[in-house]
Chain length 396, copies 2
Amino acid sequence: MSLFNFTYTIVGSNRARLGILTTPHGVIETPAFIFCATKASIKGVTPHMMRDADTQIILSNTYHLFLQPGADIVAKAGGLHRFMGWDGPMLTDSGGFQIFSLGHGSVSSEIKGKRNTHRPQTLLKITEEGAKFRSYIDGKIHLLTPEKSIETQVKLGADLIVSFDECTPFNVDKNYTAKSMRMSHRWGVRSLAEFHRLEAEQKQRLYGIIQGGVYEDLRLESCDNVNNYPYFGHAIGGSLGADKTQMYDVVTMTASKLDPKRPIHLLGIGGVKDVFKGVEQGIDTFDCVHPTRLARHGGALVRPPNNTVKRRDNINLNNGWCRDDHTPIEPDCGCYTCSHYSKAYLHHLLKAGELLAHTLITVHNVFFMNRLMKAVRTALSSARLNTIYSDWVNDD
Amino acid sequence: MSLFNFTYTIVGSNRARLGILTTPHGVIETPAFIFCATKASIKGVTPHMMRDADTQIILSNTYHLFLQPGADIVAKAGGLHRFMGWDGPMLTDSGGFQIFSLGHGSVSSEIKGKRNTHRPQTLLKITEEGAKFRSYIDGKIHLLTPEKSIETQVKLGADLIVSFDECTPFNVDKNYTAKSMRMSHRWGVRSLAEFHRLEAEQKQRLYGIIQGGVYEDLRLESCDNVNNYPYFGHAIGGSLGADKTQMYDVVTMTASKLDPKRPIHLLGIGGVKDVFKGVEQGIDTFDCVHPTRLARHGGALVRPPNNTVKRRDNINLNNGWCRDDHTPIEPDCGCYTCSHYSKAYLHHLLKAGELLAHTLITVHNVFFMNRLMKAVRTALSSARLNTIYSDWVNDD
């Protein structure tokens, strides 16, 4: 029997589904959130704290690890799981995304269409062969190809890996998007070939990436492409539009055309509202730096009853009103941080510049997202996702 | 029966002793090391990780907490124990030390005689009443007096608190040292009076501070002073000289004249070798930022067999040779970090600027110091402290 498996049950009237994604490092109940251990570390949090916060799966970024410490060091350590002390399921991305977005604006603004800049200067040339770029660490020039990306990801040894693609930016025309997408399709085929040549299926599974920007016909073409190749799962990538409405449209049109037997990952999206919208369309896994990055800036995710500001998913613990507030971030939260610390203490740590602030707020935000996903799964099991929406999202 | 108690057994031929220091928050086996949670947090480490690393007692700095978040906030939180989630024994210093040393050089260089600067500009005036200083946070002017220090420490609520003193700098003459010491004695008497006036003895105990610089007659006068007042314990403060030899001389002359029935703390000293020298002279507790500060710079404490450099107590995990070293900091260490991580991973975290590096190396250094103190206590119990010295210190 394969060490990998994906089973699911459609619930309700749309494509929303409950799934079980089995990997050699454990089982993921879906819908699930994947947390970003960008450089082989969840910033400021140990793997054991991540587990205690009910985390099922994390991801690391091939681009960063390719440059530091390098895949060979990780391979000598016995792979990424052993290197970083995380023994649960893990995903790596292909490295393409960071090559194309790093250096100008944030990774998330790229796919959310917020950027209006030229190509990053660290990206030197894109050809059919691959992407030539300059290391942001030491200035050395590297060529990342589909084969090199897969070779690197095989050395890293995450359970789930992703085919190499060009992440098409938002501000290019349809013609560029189409050409780029078709090259990504060819890169996907080369990724698959390298994956099989290295016999990586003994320990890993490959996701194919859907591109096509905001154009429905291109997205459908890309869905057809990945459906026709033996990918284990599918990841929706590229620009998803200029605003949330367009993003939900793109996700809807894309997810509906993907082979439902394969797990679907939505790359780089993971706001609380986005999770509801994505799950409705059949998205099985999400990843986003938002919960952990927000925490490092003092933002704690809260549900509407614990917030004072409408349309926001978090409270800013730097704010003066927290100074003398001796209650937890969320009184009804069972996380380590809410069980032991007050907003006043977290506010103090932020004011004093103490590292522990990042750790404790990150732990809360991770637990919050895992609690959200659990609530979503529970609601799905009785086909009543909509009934919990207002518990988590304040729309008006 | 009192919630506080100190019992000890003299072992061997000198003053070295094994003790039990009982507080309302638990028992401390001495000799013990006290870790610095300067601003109500061990930088980057949760109290639970401190416990897991066998920590018995921590301290916080009154000066820092006086300025941020202020004693009233901590009092409203239910005291420092609850505020920061540490339920074990705790000590606060008087605040004097930071007033006199902050801003110019490090705290440790002050008592180790390494400074050659004028008074910090944040210190505005010392009078019989107290010390006037400018906040390094918002520039506000504050007056810290013995009464204010004790009031603050009572609000913070640590088990063990310290009388207010002027920490005499190294580069003053004997005349200044003597005058300053006698004022500190008067400040000590006022500290005691305020301590009793506030009925703090219900939950706390007060240490008196010995000053006198490097002058034997002054140290003896200071020992006489504290012995004659009802302090619970004694803390050796002030300048201890220009080098290790002079420091050991000052500690020796001072410790020998202190009432042996009271616990003796050596303020701000805690190198591995210092611990052996201090314990031999009857020191019961040590504190120093060295283990935790060193960790944040990538330095991991190791015993001689695990070091490559003589006369050093640590290895620098930033160094290139760690890049491909897949063994723990110390193969025979049982700490969380050494149980799960290699030098290669910690080196990677440092190179990648990951916060987790500080956390993991601090955990090792804390465990290392606690393991050292345990080894010292075990050796003392069979009166053979000297036989383990070379396991921990590389002198030549």
